[in-house]
Amino acid sequence: MSSTAEIFNNFQDYLNADYDLREEIRAVVRDLEQSAREIQTTLQAIHQPSKSTGYEEICQSALSMFSKVKENYAVLATKIPSNQYYRYNDHWKFVTQRLIYLCALIVYLRDESLVSRETVASMLGVKTNREDGFHIDLDDYLMGVLNLTSELSRLAMNAVTAGDYSRPLRISHFIGELDAGFRLLNLKNDALRKRFDGLKYDVKRCEEVVYDLTIRGLVGREEKAE
């Protein structure tokens, strides 16, 4: 056997292993996407002003779907060697951002506060820090949070349609806080920065809703001062 043939001989195993692993990741990611879609569909009910179900009920129903998500992340975590997280990262990056956004939406609907990375991690069943294993990347967390703002600015309007005049004020305040938070960050010229540039439209949309309500006396001054 020539030395060239020898050198090539065990490369195929390596390539096959990589191929198989990617296939397995893709299968898990597909399940995660399916879960994310279901949770998302469940949460869409918050925009239906005619529906009688309250936010609490909707969130409860959405939360119950996270056990399957956790299982899938657990499977993923066992598949990915710690030093190759970023090698395969692209496969689950997008769905993870979406699930983080869904966590953030649920937490906001319940507590009207920003979900922390720790909470997200525990909702998804992964680690908070890179050092501890399969984790949530900061970039993905921030992207998830940015996706929350556009959903909330839409909710602000639909809440008014449904006759809820105080929620928009609270949403506007919350998004304002997020805006201030992101302004502190010196983002690179990447996807995050681009998405952040869109945040100002959400801020403005909420301000417009508050303006519309204020000028018609639909919210009291005391509410705003809160």
């Binding site: 597909r30 996407e33 879609r37 239906q48 349609t161 519309d212 018609r216």
Partner: protein, 322 residues
């Protein structure tokens, strides 16, 4: 010339390629004829959509819908029937790209029409039924040359009009019994044709009697579910336009109803996995359309909040008649 290969024109190779030439030219000619039919269908469907938008703010809603239904029937007879004949015996997917633009635009217009008429989505089945045609061989023989096939649409009473495009009759007539429903994915064109043929004759027993079923042939333009959904997605754009137009006409009820419908379709699309790429782009547009309608609903709510109490009854009574 140093070494020119003198090709024997009677060689087996040349002979084979002469056959290929015929095959390729025939296929390309068919493709081209289908493209032209598709262009015509696109144009007329677009015009139908414009016509249907005239319903908003018009007193003449019924006559517009009747007019539209007549033009759709004419479109099916004059363009879809020739298209169905072209596709007869072919693998329709081989020519899908040639007729897909026209088909989608047609689905958009039909769906819009049905929404205006019934306030619901036209089903794939009903659209497919409209594009399935029953032909009678003039000699009572099987003969697949198009020129010998006659559309019996012109023979009054013998074959009900619904056979050629029965999707515009009232919904009650179209409802398929449960046992006739087939899993969408399992149906193929052959069984579809058969099913439609039966429907035609069983729904109106009188018509069936005057007919020798053996001499009936059905041809159809198949509607792949993805094409159907692409048409439906485009239809939501027309819904949005109609909702905003309604506000302009002082109709404060329609936007809410439309928003409800659009939200249902939006959420349904959002919950679907394995979605084809062409559709994904249209869903972004759908999301934007929905937000436009939601914003209109919001504005109406906010403005409505200012109605002085002494006027409330007055306003509502007029709004109710819209």
């Amino acid at each position: 010339k140093t070494s020119m290969v003198n090709v024997d024109v009677n060689s087996a190779v040349i002979e084979a390629f002469q056959g290929f030439q015929v095959e390729l030219d025939t296929r390309n000619d068919t493709y081209e004829r289908i493209v032209k039919l598709s262009r015509d269908i696109t144009i007329e469907s677009k015009r139908l959509i414009f016509l249907l938008h005239r319903v908003t703010g018009s007193d003449d809603r019924d006559s517009i819908l009747t007019d539209a239904a007549a033009r759709m029937l004419e479109l099916r007879t004059s363009k879809f029937l020739p298209l169905a004949k072209e596709l007869k015996g072919q693998d329709p997917y081989q020519f899908l790209r040639a007729f897909s633009p026209g088909l989608q635009e047609y689905i958009e217009s039909v769906t819009f029409y049905h929404y205006l008429a019934d306030n619901q989505l036209a089903s794939l089945d009903s659209i497919q039924t409209g594009l399935t045609f029953t032909l009678q061989d003039s000699n009572g023989n099987q003969n697949d040359l198009p020129k010998n096939l006659q559309v019996k649409n012109s023979a009054p009473r013998k074959l009900p009009d619904e056979c050629i495009g029965n999707s515009d009759v009232p919904p009650s007539l179209k409802t398929l019994s449960d046992e006739n429903k087939q899993d969408i994915q399992n149906r193929d064109v052959a069984s579809e044709e058969c099913l439609q043929g039966q429907n035609c004759t069983t729904d109106k027993a009188v018509a069936a009697e005057t007919f020798d079923c053996e001499s009936l042939q059905t041809v159809s333009v198949p509607v792949p579910p993805t094409e159907y959904m692409l048409g439906v997605a485009d239809f939501t754009g027309e819904l949005m336009k109609m909702a905003i137009n309604s506000v302009g006409s002082g109709d404060l009820r329609t936007p809410r109803i439309v928003a409800e419908m659009m939200r249902t379709i939006h959420d349904a699309f959002a919950s679907i996995g394995n979605i084809p790429r062409e559709l994904r782009h249209k869903l972004r547009v759908l999301r934007q359309s929905l937000q436009k309608v939601e914003t209109a609903c919001y504005t109406m709510k906010v403005r409505g909040s200012e109605i002085p109490s002494h006027m409330l009854a007055d306003v509502f009574s007029t709004a109710g008649t819209g």
